[in-house]
């Protein structure tokens, strides 16, 4: 059965089925689509066959009057109705199961905004942008809301999707069956970078996940208590460390590294530049301004850009913020100009770096 499933999946270009919901969905999918292909091919071929078999043999040839019998009408209505209702009953049963999260599910809060996913584990748990860590073989419930327009949380490998609405919570759940990394896509059109609103689910084996969440809690507490002295260790230069954080935290989704304007100001030659703010003031980009902007991004918005950046307060330990600043400082060309950043253009420059 699994071998046949895998074959069908490959033929139909379906991704791997990595959640408990995916398996019954795929089975019904194979049934429905096979019947569909058979029925449509037979219809087309039958018409084609009749073209030859009953082709006109002489002009104005007369034809018999063919009328349906009661039995024919019964078959014509009964057979499709039987299949359609069969599919409906099975599909609706699976669907009701899918829309009823188990009581013992782990809750994760999801906040969608243009164009990123934010996850938080509630209470004193960690939070993250773009990457959701979950345990394998345990149900996880997502409570989702949006801060701006409608988005939709879609994980092809799990066969799940749920619209995320502003002003209310929607929920969905899944139980991942295999550790690995799975892509999250936004499937409800939400503007310019809709097609780049991606995230990732990292499914970890249960015990590893438990360990991870404890470490995250401890790390978070440490950051708050001591300024993060025992933050995660990283072997390499502080600049490389800053680059890793920029990738992990999703900074580079909005800030380009090559001088092209994007959603936020580019980081190339940013350090030392004179920027004009929204309120007309000018500011020199130094360590203080960069750090301020991570903690309170709405405080000093560079003219021409929108206040879309979320705060990183509580998500960056002091050494991490410092490493980011060092990384930004390292992005320099010979011809540093001190003119203000070019205004944001909401046009693509190059595909956002993929991990």
């Amino acid at each position: 059965m699994t071998a046949l499933d895998d074959l069908m999946r490959r033929l139909l270009f379906l991704p791997e089925a990595r959640s408990t919901f995916a398996v019954p969905v795929d089975r019904l999918h194979f049934f429905v689509i096979t019947v569909t292909m058979i029925a449509s091919t037979i219809t087309g071929l039958m018409a084609f066959f009749f073209f030859f078999k009953y082709r006109e043999r002489r002009p104005k040839q007369s034809t018999p009057v063919v009328v349906p019998s009661m039995r024919f009408e019964f078959v014509v209505i009964g057979v499709p109705l039987f299949f359609f209702l069969l599919w409906f009953v099975q599909g609706f049963k699976d669907y009701v199961w899918y829309t009823t999260p188990p009581k013992n599910a782990t809750d994760v809060y999801v906040m969608a905004k243009k164009w990123m996913w934010k996850f938080s584990y509630g209470g004193d748990g960690p939070n993250a942008i773009g990457t959701l860590h979950v345990p394998a073989n345990r149900p996880v419930r997502l409570l989702m809301t949006s801060r701006d327009v409608i988005h939709s949380f879609f994980v092809p490998d799990f066969r799940i999707k749920q619209d995320v609405l502003p002003g209310r919570y929607t929920e969905t759940w899944f139980e991942a069956t295999k550790p690995g990394r799975y892509q999250i896509l936004c499937s409800q059109y939400c503007g310019t970078w809709h097609s780049q609103m991606w995230g990732e689910i990292v499914v970890m084996p249960g015990p590893e996940y438990d360990q991870w969440i404890i470490e995250q809690r401890r790390g978070l507490a440490a950051r708050v208590d001591t300024g993060g002295d025992d933050g995660p260790s990283f072997h390499g230069s502080i600049v490389e460390y800053g680059k890793k954080i920029a990738m992990d935290q999703g900074c580079v989704k909005c800030h380009s590294l090559d001088g092209e304007p994007h959603i936020g100001p580019t980081w190339l030659d940013l350090y030392g530049k004179q920027e004009t703010l929204e309120n007309g003031e000018t500011v020199t980009v130094d360590e203080a301004y960069l750090t301020d902007s991570m903690i309170d991004p709405r405080g000093k918005i560079v003219k021409g850009f929108k206040a879309v950046m979320p705060t990183y307060k509580g998500r960056l330990a002091a050494p991490e913020a410092a490493a980011l600043v060092e990384f930004i400082k390292s992005l320099r060309t010979q011809n540093l100009d001190t003119v203000p950043s070019k205004e944001a253009i909401y046009e693509p420059v190059k595909p956002a770096p993929r991990r």
Binding site: P24, H29, K161, P166, S187, C190
Partner: protein, 549 residues
């Protein structure tokens, strides 16, 4: 009366010296005409321009999707482009195409009438169409509308792009649609020739009748919806935007309450065309005439209660999801009835394999595949994965392009001699038809697979794993475009240099063929009395063989 199309078998066909095309001359005579045939021709030219525009936008999208990253345009341009493609194809082409062109041209002929019931209202509907189309197009191009044709709130109410002109355009287009529908309903009720009972109507007329009912009942809702979006956008009232106390899902309910029945505004006339054309080319009574006629009404009725199947992942209750799913299945049953009857009509026919037959063969495959994938996406658990992916795109293009455009082409070829008195080139017709059926499959079957693989719709950039199928789809689209270009060329040639067709080149028994081709200004030179059924292929006095299956 019914004998007139049997005359002059051996003499070469004659082009009628005076007909509706040359009865009056000059541009002004066209612009002020109240002749339903001329209005139909002007609709034909207009919707073909819209189709050409929509097609160019589609090709631009396909070229952009050749690579995972940016190819020929920026993200915002792409978003505007798919909005233009959707709005132009749906509101400027699909909805007016068959009713506006063939409904206008043929309905009075098929009823044995001189014109529609309200000829001036008919002209008004065309001017409303032109006005709405111009405002919507200019508004979108200059204002950079980037919401998609669905205008989902609160994105639409919060986008900085201009939305008002396109909403106004759609509002006006809605009136054009309502006026046409109203006119047709009254015409069918009041202007049937003596002897033409309801059960003698051609199936195309039945289809147009069912369509008109939807146009009159559903279109006001889209008018109301766009008006509310406009009010929210301009006046800042919180109707759909939750930050101002509105409800974004309310918008979806209102939008789909029109836009789902609108699918049947597009598909029902297509089904009517196929019913008539199959009978003509198989020289046979339509099998199960009443079943086909009533199933049109059934689809029109049930279609009003299926809108929620567009919203399975919107957060509506599971009970609603289930109810909308079952109702959607009923639409499938009505459609299945029609398909069985069409195929059964071919059984023991005397089939003349001409260009429209190639399209009919394609149509039958497409409507079964497109229809049954519609059942598949209405099967709630399956829809969760497919919703808003290319699977849905492929499904509705199978219906919109596969069924409706095939039917438009069937109609165009079948009634071309009726409209212009000349024949297109059969050989080139076959070549183009084969290209289009092939190209269509090559374009949209990869899109089904893309949807399975999980590629969401409206994606400017996509993960690299989706590239191969996207390239395949674009290649298919080029084939499709090539087919359409061939058609355009040979039809324009046929218009000027085509062989004179004669009054009834297909030996069809449809009532519209009882007059000359092209018809005179007032349709019939003699009073029309109907003494037979519409798809009655028995010669008078001929022994009729009855077969029951």
């Amino acid at each position: 009366m019914s004998q007139s199309n049997q005359l002059h078998d051996d003499s070469p066909p004659v082009y009628p010296a005076v007909n509706y095309l040359n009865a009056d001359r000059g541009v002004w005579s066209w612009l002020t005409t109240i002749d339903h045939k001329r209005i139909g021709i002007m609709y034909l030219v207009s919707v073909m321009i819209a189709f050409l525009l929509g097609g160019i936008f589609a090709m631009a999208l396909r070229v952009e999707l050749l690579t995972p990253g940016p190819t020929i345009m920026g993200a915002n341009t792409y978003n505007r482009m798919f909005t233009l493609h959707g709005v132009v194809m749906i509101f400027l082409f699909m909805i007016p195409a068959i009713p506006g062109v063939f409904g206008n041209f043929l309905l009075p002929l098929m009823l044995g009438a001189k014109d529609v019931a309200f000829p001036k209202l008919n002209l008004l509907s065309l001017y409303l169409y032109w006005t709405g189309a111009t405002i919507a197009l200019c508004g979108m191009i200059m204002g950079g509308t980037d919401t998609g044709w669905t205008f989902y709130a609160p994105y639409s109410t919060s986008t900085p792009m201009t939305l008002f002109p396109v909403l106004l355009g759609i509002f006006i287009l809605g009136f054009s649609s309502i006026v046409t529908g109203l006119n047709f309903i009254v015409t069918i009720h009041t202007l049937r020739a003596p002897g033409m009972g309801w059960m003698r109507l051609q199936l195309f007329v039945w289809a147009i009748y069912a369509t008109s009912i939807i146009q009159v009942l559903a279109t006001p809702v889209i008018g109301l919806t766009v008006l509310l979006v406009g009010i929210e956008k301009v006046g800042g009232f919180g109707l759909f935007d939750p930050t101002r106390g509105g409800d974004p899902v309310l918008f979806q309910h209102m939008f789909w309450f029109y836009s789902h029945p609108a699918v049947y505004i597009m598909v029902l006339p297509a089904m009517g065309v196929v019913s008539d054309a199959i009978a003509a080319f198989a020289r046979k009574n339509v099998f199960g005439y009443k079943m086909i006629a009533y199933s049109s009404l059934g689809i029109a009725f049930v279609g009003f209660f299926a809108w929620g199947h567009h919203m399975f992942v919107s957060g509506q209750s599971s009970f609603n999801d289930g109810a909308f799913a079952v109702i959607s299945m009923l639409v499938g049953v009505f459609t299945a009835i029609k398909v069985f009857n069409w195929v059964a009509t071919l059984y023991r026919g005397a089939i003349a394999v001409k260009t429209p037959l190639i399209y009919i063969c394609g149509f039958l495959f497409f409507i079964v595949f497109g229809g049954m994938t519609g059942i598949a996406v209405a099967t709630v658990s399956l829809d969760v994965h497919w919703h808003d992916t290319y699977f849905v795109i492929a499904h509705f293009h199978f219906i919109m392009v596969g069924a409706v455009i095939m039917a438009f082409l069937i109609a165009l070829h079948y009634w071309f001699p009726k409209m212009f008195g000349r024949m297109y080139h059969e050989g080139w017709g076959m070549v183009a038809a084969s290209l289009i059926v092939l190209g269509f499959n090559a374009t949209f079957i990869p899109q089904f697979l893309l949807g399975n693989a999980g590629m969401p719709r409206r994606y400017y950039m996509y993960p690299e794993r989706y590239q191969a199928l996207n390239v395949a789809s674009t290649a298919g689209a080029s084939l499709l475009a090539f087919g359409f270009i061939i058609i355009l060329i040979y039809l324009i040639y046929a218009l000027v240099r085509g062989k004179v067709a004669g009054d009834n080149p297909w030996n069809s028994r449809g009532y519209e063929w009882m007059t000359t081709s092209p018809p005179p200004k007032h349709n019939f030179d003699h009073p029309v009395i109907i003494d037979r059924d519409s798809h009655d292929y028995q010669e008078p006095g001929e022994e009729v063989e009855h077969v029951v299956i």
